[in-house]
Symmetry: C2
Subunit: 356 residues, 2 copies
C-alpha cells in the first residue's frame, strides 16, 4: 500500500472518518435548508393515505436510526410500529397482507440485496413503501414508491457517522411532516453539533480512561436507547472492544450481573422522560460500584464517575439523539486511535454489505 | 447464610438451576397434555376477532420468547408483527389506536409493573390483550383479557430455563391454534429434550474449552436468532462472560470486525431455511479464522471447530428453537460451575424485576 512508498501521500489513520464526522453540522444544515421541503411533501402524500401501522427495515447503523423513528412514530404520532425481521420474507417467503401499512426501509447505500428484496415484497403485498437512503440512484430507491435522500454526500469511511445523523434528522422531519408539525425543534441542531464537535480534547481524556477496557456496557431508556445501540456498534466496529447495549429495564433483567467495578457503563441520559425513567437504573449501577460515564446534562455528568455534558436547555427531548451520538462517535474514534488502529478501515468489513 | 452453619444442609452451587433444567421434558409434556386444549380455545376466540397486527411486549428471557413468536406469526400466520418499546407507553404516555391489534405480553412472573401498565394501556386503547405467564394469579394475567398459563411450576433459580421453553411451546401452540393447525410437530419434543439433557458430558467438554473465553459472539438467522439472544443472556447472567448476539446479517454490518481467532463464535444452525441463510455468514467466519462452535445437525457440527449435534430429522424448523436452547442452557451452567460461581444466584439480580 501507499504507506510504504515515500513518493505517495501517507494515509493518516482515521483521517476519512474524522473528516466525515466534522461534516455533520453542514449536512444537518443542508437537510434543513434543501431537503426539508421534499421530506414534507413526501410526508403529506403518505399522511393522506392514512397508514395504520408502520414497519421499519434496516441493518447495522441504519437499524439504529430505524429504532429512533419507531420511538418518534409511537410517541409523536401515536401509531403502532415495529422493526421487521427481514429473514421472514427473504428466507421464509412470508407474505403478510400489508394494506394500510407503511414500510420504511433505511439504508445508507440503498444497495443491500435483502433490503431491496424485502421492500419489493412489501410493495407487492400492498404496503406504502418509503426508502430513506443516501443514494437516490440506488436499487432500494428504485423499488420504493417514495424516497427521501438524506443528502449526506459520499461516505467513504467504513464506520457510518454523517449518514447516521442525517438519517435521524430526515426521519424526524418526516414524522413531523406526517403529523403536520413544523419541525422547528431541529433548527438549533447544526450550531449545537458544531459546539460539541469542537470539544475533542474532552473526548480524548475520556478515551485515555477507557482505552484499556476489555468490555463496555451502554444503557439508556426511551429516545436515548437507539444512541446506546449505535454507540456500541461504533465502538465494536472501530476499536473491537465488545460493547453491549441494553435498555435500562432489560439491563436489570439479567445482564446487570455482568457489571462489576471494572466494567465501565456508559449511560445516555436524555433530558426529559427517558432520562427520568433511567434514574433507578443509574442508582442500581452506582450501588454496584460501576464506573459510570454519563452522556447528558451537566448535573447528571457531575453525579457520575466521568462523562460528557451536552447542551440540553431548549433542546426538545425527541431531537437530542441527533446530538447525543456525536461525543460517542468521537469516543469510538479516539479509543481506536489510542489503541493504534485505523478507524477508517476496520478489518473484515465492506461498505456495502451483501446480505441476502 | 446456611453455608457457614454445619447443622443446616449445604447449598450445592447450581443445584436449583440444574433441577429446573432437568424438569423441561416433563413441563413440555404437561403443556401438550394438559395445557393444549385451553391454549387452542384461547386461540380460537382470538382468531374469531381477526386481529390485523400483533404487538409483543416482554423483558429479558421472555423477550426472546416473544421474538420467537414474532417469527411464527410472520411466517406461519402471515401477519405483520412487532416488539413493543414499552417506554413509549410507560414513560412517554403514547396512546396509539390499537383497534384490531393483538397485544401479547410474555412474562414468567406476570409481576413487572411496566408490563402490567403497558398491557392495561393497550387494553384501554382497544387492543385484544393476551398474557402468557407462569402465574395465573399474577397482576398481568388479571389485567389481560386472555391468559395462557405456561404450567412450568415454580421457578426458583434466577436464570430462567424451564419457563423459557414452556413459553416457546405455549406460543407455538397458540399460533398453531390461530391458524387452525394441529400443533403435531411439537409431539416429539419431550422425548428429544430428554435425550439432549442426558448428554451432559459433551457439554462439560465444551465448557472446558470456553471456560476462559473473555467474550463470546453468538449468531443465527431466522428461527434460531431468538436462541442466540437467549443463550447470550443466559451466559451473561450466570458466567458474567460478555456474550454478544447478532443476526448473521447484522454481524456482517460492523461487529464482524470484532471477531478474530481468539473470539469464539457460537452459531445456531437451524435445520431448514434459517440455517441455509446462515451459510454465507459461516463461510465468512471460517475465512476470518474464527473458532466456530455449531449447535445444529451433525454435518454442520463436523464442519466446525466444535459443537453439539442436535436431532433434526423429522423435527420441523419452527419447533427446533425449543430444543436448540437446551445445550446452551447447559453450557451456561457448566461454564459457570467451572469458573467457581453459583448459577442459582447471580450477583445483583432479583427474580421479579421491578422496572417501571
Amino acid at each position: 500500500m501507499s504507506d510504504t512508498n515515500p513518493t505517495l501521500p501517507v494515509h493518516t489513520p482515521g483521517r476519512i472518518m474524522s473528516g466525515e464526522m466534522a461534516e455533520q453540522p453542514a449536512v444537518l444544515r443542508r437537510i434543513l435548508e434543501e431537503g426539508a421541503p421534499h421530506i414534507r411533501e413526501v410526508a403529506e402524500r403518505i399522511a393522506a393515505r392514512n397508514p395504520r401501522f408502520v414497519l421499519l427495515s434496516a441493518r447495522g447503523t441504519s437499524d439504529n436510526a430505524a429504532l429512533y423513528a419507531k420511538y418518534l412514530i409511537e410517541v409523536l404520532l401515536g401509531k403502532p410500529a415495529g422493526l421487521s425481521s427481514m429473514s421472514t420474507t427473504t428466507a421464509y417467503g412470508a407474505k403478510p397482507d400489508l394494506t394500510d401499512v407503511l414500510v420504511i426501509t433505511v439504508s445508507q447505500s440503498g444497495g443491500s440485496p435483502d433490503l431491496v428484496a424485502s421492500t419489493w415484497a412489501a410493495r407487492e403485498a400492498g404496503a406504502i413503501t418509503l426508502a430513506v437512503t443516501n443514494n437516490p440512484d440506488s436499487p432500494l430507491a428504485e423499488v420504493s414508491e417514495f424516497h427521501i435522500d438524506v443528502l449526506a454526500g459520499p461516505e467513504k469511511a467504513l464506520p457510518a457517522t454523517k449518514t447516521y445523523t442525517a438519517e435521524l434528522l430526515s426521519l424526524y422531519l418526516f414524522v413531523e411532516g406526517l403529523r403536520g408539525g413544523d419541525g422547528n425543534h431541529a433548527k438549533i441542531l447544526p450550531e449545537l453539533a458544531e459546539q460539541i464537535l469542537a470539544r475533542q480534547s474532552e473526548v480524548k481524556a475520556l478515551a485515555a480512561r477507557y482505552r484499556f477496557a476489555d468490555r463496555l456496557v451502554l444503557t439508556s431508556r426511551g429516545y436515548g436507547y437507539p444512541t446506546a445501540r449505535e454507540a456500541a456498534l461504533k465502538l465494536m466496529e472501530t476499536s473491537y472492544i465488545p460493547a453491549l447495549a441494553f435498555s435500562g429495564a432489560d439491563l436489570l433483567h439479567g445482564p446487570l450481573a455482568m457489571v462489576d467495578n471494572v466494567s465501565p457503563v456508559i449511560a445516555i441520559v436524555t433530558e426529559g422522560k427517558g432520562g427520568q425513567a433511567l434514574q433507578p437504573v443509574l442508582d442500581r449501577l452506582r450501588g454496584r460500584g460501576a464506573d459510570l460515564v454519563v452522556i447528558g446534562n451537566r448535573e447528571s455528568v457531575e453525579a457520575a464517575s466521568a462523562g460528557f455534558a451536552l447542551p440540553t436547555e431548549g433542546v426538545a427531548e425527541e431531537v437530542q439523539p441527533i446530538l447525543e451520538i456525536l461525543p460517542l462517535q468521537m469516543l469510538a474514534y479516539e479509543v481506536t486511535i489510542a489503541r493504534g488502529q485505523d478507524p477508517d478501515v476496520p478489518r473484515a468489513l465492506a461498505k456495502v454489505t451483501e446480505t441476502h
